[in-house]
Every structure is written in C-alpha cells, then in structure tokens.
Subunit: 516 residues, 2 copies
Amino acid sequence: MNGAESLLRTLAAHGVDVCFANPGTSEMHLVQAIDAVDDTRGVLCLFEGVCTGAADGYARMNGGPATTLLHLGAGLANGVANLHNCRRADSPLINIVGDHAIHHVAYDAPLTSDIESVAKPVSAWIRTSRTSEGLALDAVDAVRAALAPNPMPRGGIATLIVPVDCAWGEGRVRAKAPGFDASVAKPTVDDAAVASIAPRIDSDTLLMIDGNGLTEAGVRAAGRIAAATGCRLYTPTFPARVEAGPDLPLVERLPYFPEHVMQVFASVRKLVLAGSQAPVSFFAYQNLPSDLVPEHCETVRLAHRHEDVEAALTAVADALDAPAGQGAGGGRPEKPEGALSAGNIAQLIAASAPENSIMATDSGGGGAAHPVLQRSLRHSWLNLTGGSIGDGGPIAVGAAIACPDRQVFALLGDGGAMYTNQYLWTAAREGLNIVSIVFSNRQYNILEVEYRRLGINEIGRDAASLFDLSNPDLDWVGLAAAQGVPGARASTCEEFDAALGRALASDGPYLIEAVL
Amino acid sequence: MNGAESLLRTLAAHGVDVCFANPGTSEMHLVQAIDAVDDTRGVLCLFEGVCTGAADGYARMNGGPATTLLHLGAGLANGVANLHNCRRADSPLINIVGDHAIHHVAYDAPLTSDIESVAKPVSAWIRTSRTSEGLALDAVDAVRAALAPNPMPRGGIATLIVPVDCAWGEGRVRAKAPGFDASVAKPTVDDAAVASIAPRIDSDTLLMIDGNGLTEAGVRAAGRIAAATGCRLYTPTFPARVEAGPDLPLVERLPYFPEHVMQVFASVRKLVLAGSQAPVSFFAYQNLPSDLVPEHCETVRLAHRHEDVEAALTAVADALDAPAGQGAGGGRPEKPEGALSAGNIAQLIAASAPENSIMATDSGGGGAAHPVLQRSLRHSWLNLTGGSIGDGGPIAVGAAIACPDRQVFALLGDGGAMYTNQYLWTAAREGLNIVSIVFSNRQYNILEVEYRRLGINEIGRDAASLFDLSNPDLDWVGLAAAQGVPGARASTCEEFDAALGRALASDGPYLIEAVL
C-alpha cells in the first residue's frame, strides 16, 4: 500500500472521510487512493475557495473535520480567504496540500512555492511530511491538532503538506488509538468562575455568547439565566453557528456598525463573556473608538471560546436555580405582497422555509433576515465569521453534505457570491438541496454606505463605478443555469414566493435572483 | 491632501496610473482618491485573481507596472495564485493592500490577519506604511522596487500595505526624481562573457532564450546567431512573452513532458542559456530525472533572466558578424473543415486572426496553437508562466487595457477558465477586444493524462469523477452571457469559423465555446 492510501485509510479510521478536492498532478496518487478507500467521499470543486468554505460548513454542522485536497502553494492560496473565515469560526479542518517530490523542490520548477508560508496565517498546525512510511502518523497528528482545544485565534486548521514521493512510496496505516475521540475537545470551565459570576448577573447585564454556547442546550441554558436575572442575551455580530427558533430563547445579534453597538451598551453595566470576545469595531473610523465597551461597563469572563461554553451556561443556570426560559415566540409571518425588498424577502423565507432548515449567509440582506427567522422556525444559522465575503455558497455546500436530510438556504449578496460562484456547479453535481437567494442590488452596497460615512454625499463617477455591479448587470439565473442549477428571477413578492415554492418542491439546488 | 491622494498622485507622476481594483471598506479613501486623481484609471474586477492576473498582463505588454487595490489579507490571498504566475513572468507589479488603522490591529477585529505573511511568498518587496506623510515616499520605494533588476525568482512584485489611518491622514506628494526611468532596469551582460561564448556556439548547440531575449530585436538577433552557427533556438516551456511571426526567426518552444524534453536534448552537446534557466521537469516522476540536461551536454550561461538578454544576443550576433536570420516562413493556413479538434482550432485562428494580435493562453489546447501561429501571423504570445491555471483570461484583460488598438485572444481550457471566470465581466464593462476561446473538453484532461502516466489504465469511478467537468456540463456561452459577453458554441470547423468571423467583426468581447 502506498503512502497516499495509508493516509486516506488512516483518516477514515479516525472518522475523517469527506474530501473537498481540487487536485492537480502532484495529487494523482491521492486521487487514486480515493478510489481504493471506499469509506472516503471525494467532492470535486472547481475553485479551491469552494473546497475550504465547504469543509468549514461541513465542520460547523458535523462537528468533526473534513479534508480539502489542494494543489501546491497556488491551490492553497486560492483557499486562504475562506480558511480565514474558517479559523474565525473555530472549525476543525484538515488541508492536504500536494507538493513536489522532496528531491525536486531544489530545482525550483515553475509551480514551486513556499507552501508553509502560504499556510501560516491560517493554520494552527503545519507539517511537511518527510517519508511515505511516516505519512499516516502525520495524518494522526493532523487530526489531533484539528480537534485539540486552541485558545489562539487560529481555530482548528491543520495543514499537511504531502510531497508526491511520500504519496507514492510504501506506507503504513495507523489504527485509531484506544480512547481516541473524534470530536473537538472542550475544556471545562472552572467551578469557581461559575460560582463567582452567577450571583453577579442582573438586569443591567449583557451576556454575550459564542462558541458552543449557541447550541440548542447552550441557548436554553442562557434563556434560563435570562429568566432568573433579567439579563440580556446577545451573540457577537458574526457567530459561526446559532440554533434558533420560536421555541428557543431569543438571543439577539450585536449590530454591525460601532454607533449601533454603542447604543446597545449605553444601558449595560456588566458584560459577561460566555465564549465571546468583547466587542470591537469591525473597521476603525476617525472619531470612533475601537473598543466598544464603555467605561461604565465592567467586563467579566465566564468562558473562553475554546472552552465548553454550553456546560458553563448550564452550570450558571443551575447555580441560580433558574426556571425554564421563555421562547422567542412569534410564528410564521404573513406573506407580504408587492415590491420586493430585503425585509420582504426575509418574511417570505420565514413563511415558507421547512422546519430545521440551515441558513448560510454572508450578505447584508441575509443578515437582516436573522431576527425574522428567529421568531418563525427552528433553524441553524451559519454566519460569515471573518468578514471575507464569498463564504455563504461554499458553506452551504458543506452543510448540505453534512446534513443531507435538511433544507439548506444560501442567502448571498451579488458581490460576495461572485467570488465563489463555482459552488453552484458542485451543488448541481452532488444534487444538494440548496436554495440560493441572491440579493441582487447590483452594487457593493456596503461600500457605498461606508463611503457616505466618510461624509461624502456626492460620489464621483470613478468612485461610483467601483461600487457598481451593473454595466453590465450580472444575470444570476443565467450564471446558475450555466453551471447546472435551475432558477428564476423575481422582482415582486409574488414572483419570489412562486419561485421559492418551485425551489422547495424540487430536488437538488435552485437559485432565486431577487432583484432589489 | 490626504495620504491616499498623495499616494495615487505620486504613483501617477512615476507613470503608474492603471489600478485593477477590488476594494473594501478600508480602501474607501483610495477609491475617493481615484476620483480626485484624473490621471488614474480604476478598473473594477469582481475577484482579486482577476486584478493580479490583469496587472501582470498589463506589465507584460506595457513594460511598466500597474497597481492592484486589494482588501486586507483575505483580498490579497485571493490574488496570490496569479501573483505566483506574475513572479515567474518577472513582471513589475505593485499591490496596494488596505489594512486596519494601526491602532486598530491589536483589537483583532474579524478581518485582521497577518498580511505580510500572505505577501511573503510572492513579493520581492513588502512594506507596511506607518505614517500618512510618509505614504508617498513608500510609494516611490515601491515603484523603484518593482523596476529594480532582481536576480531572485520573486520578480518585480512590490506589496505596499496601507493602514487606513495612513490613507486618511495628511499626505505629501513626492515628485519624480530627476533621472528617474519608469522602466525595468536590465543590467548589461559583460563583454567578456559575449566574447568567450560567441565562438563556441555551433550546430550542436541549443540556445535557450527567455526574458527580453524574446522581444522582436532579441528574436532577430537570435536568428542571426542561428544563421551564422546552425544552432537551434528554443524558449522554455513557459515563457512570459514571445514575439513571433513568419517574418521573424523561428524559436521553438520546449515540450512539457520530461521524456519529450530529453528527446530534444539527445543530440545537443552544448546548452547556452540566454535569460533562461536550464530545463527541469515540471513535476517529478518516478524513474525520471528532475534535471533534464543530459551529462553529455555542457551548459554555459550567456545572460541571466534579469539582465539585458536582447543586448547580449545582439552582441553575440555582432561578434559573429552574423547575417540576417531566416524568417519562420509559412503563411496563413487553409481553413480546415469538419469535426473540431484542438489542431483544427489552431488552424482556424491562424487563418483569421488580425496581424499583431495578442495571444494569452494557459491551456494545453492554446499551447498547441503556438507553432501554427508562429508561421501564420505576427503576434505577441503571452503564456502561463507559473503553472497556476486561471491566468489566461485575466492576462488578456490587462493586455487589452495596455494595447487598446490590438486584437486580443484568450485561449483557455475549461478547467482553468473556471477559476477566474469573473474576468468576463470586466472585459464586458471595459468593452475590451478580447476573443475568448474555451477548449471545452469537459475534463481536467491533463490529470487524466498524468493519471495514465502512473500506469493506471483502468480509472475507477471516483477518480474519474475528479477529472470530469461534465455532470453537469458547463455552459460557457451562458456563463459569458450572464456576465455581459456575447458568444457562440461550435462543434464543427464551419461553426467555429462563422463564430470567429462574428467575434472579429464586433467591438468588445466575444466568447466561443469550442466543444471537443
């Protein structure tokens, strides 16, 4: 058995058996091994940013890591933007990056590059294998690194660089060690922290929750704490995954712009961090602070992001002898009629989306749907985490592969979706139940908003052209059809609702271009 | 005047006035400055790999650098694959990468990343600006770095990271220094090297030419040397730019696969390197050497890549008192009929392409057109250099902006073109005269070829699916139309020829999907 096969067999033995691949020549033995190892599912993506985003989405829903299969430094580089989002999501992920044979690197052939340097900004663990016999051991270390608790903001990304001679040489499979646990380790929060913080939570407190504090159990525990103390519950602006619905306690999402965050904090005297960082401005602005916690507000940490936030919240609720929390309430909204808007789209999705849908978003319009959906149906909300747009479509692909029985929505801006439009093809090939909704405002709207925040209300022609996605208009229905995804364009609520009905009635992917 | 405007005014004063932009919030002052500085042309690209590839294409045709405008580490990372090709092309290029305000970085807001680490593998020069007043001085240093001769294989890429407070603070324009020369410096080769090498060139010699040895003057000088000595003329497999045509001496291109390179060298006793490296295998193979120069062949260096190869070749020709060389000869081929093939496509392009066309390619099919075109029309050939596919379309965009009066062709594989399909939109917006020809074989053909080279002739279902771009078929005409580019699909020579006629008769971009 060669090293490549030993690598994939060892990963599969450790529960890592989905590979989002965009291989090249130096990965041919690994491709061959995908054939040999029945347990491993290879999913072809036509751009590496789709591979890395999909692996992140898979991990957010599955808990354990998927692998990516990438072609040297250039292939890895194409995946770095979504790896950046992945590390901010704290998702476990294993990059397998092919490289030249060890003896060949010194010849500086055209594709040779410094792969470890490319990997560094987005990896918690990096190794270049040195022998085919050791490759499977390297794989075990990669899995352990991806699952290890990591207090640093590099999440659980392990990058294993595989010179082709390590893939083609003789390899040895490594069995799963006794006691190996294929899930991310979450250190328990100290009892003393729970005991000291629980009695101090009151109605002037904002409890900010992230990490596994946003599971169903975590959210229910937070709701109990709110019921007992009157505190307010928030997620950060960009949580990786939130479980929400009318029967679950309402956890609000912190606004994006610093002024709005400061308004939230105006009446807050105590900030309790449960897996979250203290809020900072997304970008710096002249005359606005970076640190958005006002001086009158005391900050206390209950749990770090990498710790077991769910257990810590439950312990606090138990210490308070708290009753069950109140659900967010609400219910399915009436369907709006007439002209389409981001708000109307949220209502229409909320009216029709199946229970237990998964919502992946990296757009402003998608973000605006969050509060409506929270009160309408049980769902998992997968958010952009690192601010690098072009994440929502790939995340949806990974989520759909992790959860084939659930309906997935991708709520995308037109600007963001262009970066990784190749996700559509993978959705078509794999027959994934993804309804993509493109908020087609034909501009980088956030840039125009930010530009006006500079105090410039007269936007010159050249600047305007750099925000403007019209001239020519992107035809999203055409772009999807060209990649095998059926779709429809909607300009009114009635058209949108009809398209959504068709999308939900059909198997496989569908795209709705919502012209705003 | 703020720092952003001082930066763009200083760059424009130094002849750097085209900016391929995909900006975000931290670049808003730079966008504002594009409005304020009339000399600067901003070109919006919807993916950063288009920005970097286009800037490379611009530099290959223009000689001097363009800038890219990118959004923090994630935006730069999306451009790295084509920056890898750019550094292998030795093109000058200036990346302007926005960053958080200096005081904001410590807060680790979501988009914060280690931008210098992302830049390192592809940059000859990196600087993070520290003051708004110094930003224009930083720009001057970036221009000088991009134009400096660089013997290292990082080419002329300068990456200037601009914290937003350096953009919004008070800036000072820097005037062009007396004697500043806005072109890449090319050190002259020593007379002694010319004198010692010239008399040793004979009919057993292979003269391998790269860098500015492949200009019209360089190629003519090489032709004189061949006429005087009987030596053979070759480019490397992946030259950045070659001037070619029936009236110019024929310079053959070294084959891709190592066995074929070794066949070329079987009868070669002396290899003279004129701006080229000695040939090495693109990938490593078991039982094949990395170094493809056989032991019986002596290697002599006339000029390094960064040196003035054109002048060195001319000096050798003069030292030999060589006559004018023979042109490649040939002429426009007959148009083939019937079923379409990569070979037939080359003939059809060669029959109809206007004189002085620019040919950008990163595909096997495109590469196969090279020898046919050399004998058919004068053209500039822009090749993939670093092996990272997805370069041809963006290169064509940059070339078309540098040379608005010339017809540009992009000869693309379907796999490669998907990575950066967003180039089509920029071609449409800017009305660029680019005829894109997609060799649509609906597979990563090279991978199947390489797979068979492993000795595996029975390709399993899972492996085959990872080479296969069908299921669903990509509809290239639809993908282009969705981005504003008209096109047609062709399965026969007659259909292709008719489509090419329409493409050449119309203004602006056009795409032909050649179904193979």
